[in-house]
Symmetry: C2
Subunit: 492 residues, 2 copies
């Protein structure tokens, strides 16, 4: 496609994209709830939006990418009853909830770094925006869309639905939902079981609590995203993203809050990433069918025969479109590794290509580059982009016969463009950076051979050679030490 199109989950349409402000894009993505190790589904979601972020920047947009950290309000079972996920963990470990937040925020950022995801422009926290949340709740109460009940405040869905359609995003009908829900008469502060909490009064045992006009309590889960998206991106902004599991109730409630407090829906485009499976089955802690990002990188999982690099994993993830279900398996990862290596090594052939052949070859690199852009314009279709990259692999192979396919200029241009699509857009790296273990292992093996070569030279009294080896190593920061038990080396 010549122009960027985005599949909008709210209208269920592939829509041509135009930003609200010329040259600027505001994008909000629901980040993790930091009460446990980030799971692979999160990683897939955030890497998908990383590619979207990178591509929008490549298109020349000044992108403000806001990805929040949920550090309060997300209750167990994602509903309005029960305890706060972070508080539960903090109680279990007998520490301050914010220590839990710090530990898992750190862990999350480590994983994002390992997978070479760019940091967002702003990474706001829910606890950091309580005043903003309280202000929106006040507005909702004033406009009659929210009501206080025993110190808690709820959003009045039935009232809201008179002029709006709650359930639009997730394709639910409010009457079906009402029929399917338990009767709460006398058992709840809510008028209707569909109503959701904006503010909850803290029970005596609840450890996360703040003063508010209604009670000492804590915010509902959904209000934070309305507060932070409008604060940093305005009442109307370009893109709102998240995992598909957030459509209902989280994003549905966000839309209701936005319309209720600003008369605007918030995002012009909703992007939802699809789910993961492992060996064809839903991931689930209870059945043990799970895989953590760290387990992938270390290989320590009963589902894997060995470890896979961050690059292999990214390549694997982007081989599927973000709206497709992605099935992890050892075999599929092995295949992805092979593909990724083939791609990288083909690209690296261009570095060593002799300056042979005509100046201009038979292959039109610019046309190919445009076709790469066309794939991404088609709702960020990374698998199509990768397929296109493999067309370049074929070209490089064909070129190597007499160097006439690419020509000198074409080879230089193709190298540049492949780097753009592989590294700048897909977020791959040319070698597994941060993988210094690999280098250490490799260096140790290579140095064993070098030390033996040097020993042979010395045994033959070939001092010129042994000195030259020592000098070459020394220039690269390697010091050889000869000891009673043989020679060893260190690097500086």
């Amino acid at each position: 496609m010549e122009k960027l199109h985005i599949y909008d989950s709210l209208s269920s349409e592939l829509k041509p994209f135009s930003s609200i402000k010329d040259g600027k894009v505001g994008m909000y993505v629901c980040g993790p709830t930091v009460y446990s190790d980030v799971h692979l589904g999160n990683v897939r979601t955030f890497l998908s939006f990383d590619v979207i972020f990178r591509y929008l920047k490549y298109l020349g947009y000044n992108v403000r990418y806001v990805r929040n950290i949920t550090d309060v309000g997300h209750l167990v079972d994602d509903i309005d009853e029960g305890e706060d996920k972070i508080a539960v963990k903090a109680k279990a470990e007998n520490i301050e909830p914010m220590e839990i937040v710090q530990r898992y925020s750190q862990g999350f950022h480590e994983v994002m770094r390992a997978f070479n995801a760019l940091p967002p422009s702003i990474e706001p926290t829910a606890t950091g925006h309580l005043i903003e949340q309280i202000e929106i709740i006040k507005k909702l109460i004033n406009s009659g869309l929210a009501y206080e009940s025993n110190g808690s405040v709820y959003f009045d869905i039935v009232h809201y639905n008179k002029n709006n359609s709650y359930g639009e995003l997730s394709g639910r009908d409010i009457n079906d939902m009402l029929n399917g829900s338990r009767d709460l008469s006398g058992q709840s502060d809510k008028k209707s079981p569909l109503d959701f909490a904006l503010w909850k009064k803290a029970s005596a045992g609840h450890i996360m609590r703040w003063p508010s006009p209604w009670s000492i309590g804590f915010p509902g889960w959904h209000i934070e995203c309305s507060a932070m998206s409008s604060k940093y991106l305005g009442d109307s902004f370009d893109i709102h993203g998240g995992g598909m599991d957030l459509k209902f109730p989280h994003h549905e409630c966000e839309i209701a809050q936005n319309i209720g407090s600003t008369d605007k829906k918030g995002a012009n485009n909703w992007i939802h990433t699809n789910m993961l499976t492992l060996n064809g089955q839903r991931m689930s802690k209870s059945t043990g069918n799970t895989l953590l990002p760290g387990e992938l990188l270390s290989g320590k999982s009963k589902h894997l025969t060995r470890s896979y690099s961050a690059n292999t994993t990214r390549f694997f993830i982007h081989q599927a479109h973000y709206r497709s279900i992605l099935d992890f398996s050892d075999a599929a990862l092995q295949a992805a590794e092979k593909g990724y290596k083939r791609l990288i090594s083909s690209r690296n052939i261009l570095n060593k290509r002799p300056e042979n052949g005509p100046k201009i070859g038979s292959f039109d690199v610019n046309k190919w580059d445009k076709s790469c852009q066309a794939t991404m314009n088609n709702d960020f279709n990374s698998p199509q982009l990768i397929a296109n990259l493999f067309k370049a692999v074929k070209v490089i192979q064909n070129d190597s016969k007499d160097f006439s396919v690419l020509g000198k200029d074409g080879a230089i241009l193709l190298a540049e463009k492949m780097d753009l699509w592989m590294f700048d857009i897909l977020g791959l790296t040319n070698d597994d950076k941060a993988d210094s273990n690999n280098y250490q292992t490799a260096l140790k093996a290579a140095m064993e051979i070098v030390i033996e070569t040097r020993k042979n030279a010395r045994d033959k009294k070939n001092w010129a050679k042994s000195d030259s080896i020592r000098e070459k190593l020394s220039n690269a920061g390697i010091t050889i030490k000869d000891g009673a038990a043989g020679s060893d080396f260190s690097i500086s």
Copy 2:
């Protein structure tokens, strides 16, 4: 010293340390204001507290280490007038203040990681604790120690000083301060020029603003630390730290706020780190006499002849006591590098030591270990600890003659204890981790020699040797590729 003693900057005494709660330590350290690249003085401060954090944990304390991020309220020139440091930067770049916060928080964390500083237990932000700050301000107004004036709220120093001594920490006398300050009559909302802002009404152009009972505005700089330290550590806690430049006004104001709102001073022990100089002179942007952490690591500075590793820098920093002025210079860094390498290589000799000599040697490792602890018990005296480590270097040298000084068991124990003091406490690492560039360079040089060796073998049709080389490399993940332009390698 047998028991930990800490120099308390408030009482100016070296005091035996005992924690308020058995087995637990609460430590609050003033973190960076994230409006520019973290400077070397900050790095020195945070690495000093990193060692303190590590040592307290080594002593068996469960340490809650809170280090805040100042993302609002810190005005240009550290006084109550003028603009917010972050807002100024945001205006200059025409972006949202929180984008400035994100950029420099990221940069700060990167530097902390590069220098192997442990993350604190909680890293709260000022904007994340506005409600808590407002609550304290309300208390201060209620107790008559603060007053509202045109929508701003100020702390009443003269009133406070009737029953307390403002200036105690920094050794200032309130009458001197009053005599030395400009007369503000009619020019300010303040009753006295010494009064400091708890809340400031935002002017029309001020972009960071929140509702409060007094005005739409923003908090003063000092109130955040009272709010966050009391929230996470209680009204009385064990240690408060920061750079010496924060004594006045920041910490002085904090104490006043604490006493005013809780009747307690906050910290039982105040720890202040001393200043840095560069080539004997005060660092200053205007004279160009500055050095950034990144410049140290890259060597890109007119003050340096080359780069220094994170380990060399840490070693250099801890060679001075945190209460001494530390002078950076190229020559001093070179000397530190030499020292650090000597220390590490001596330590590594123990790895290759043959199991020779008696079971128990003449050197008493446990006594030496105790003396290491004694140095740290003496107000975390890291230069004494390093001097002690060099005693171990001497022991290792003497031992190598007939292995009788350490003996087999002593060598094992010394290796373990050196690792403890060098790595666990001083935060050094055995090799410059994350320095995969070094490995890449080294591997490239080693592989050139290996490839030549293999070529020689093949030229001589010594297939056994060339195959053996290929196999050894392959086992370590190195693939050799033979091409027209020679052989190359890749690692997996």
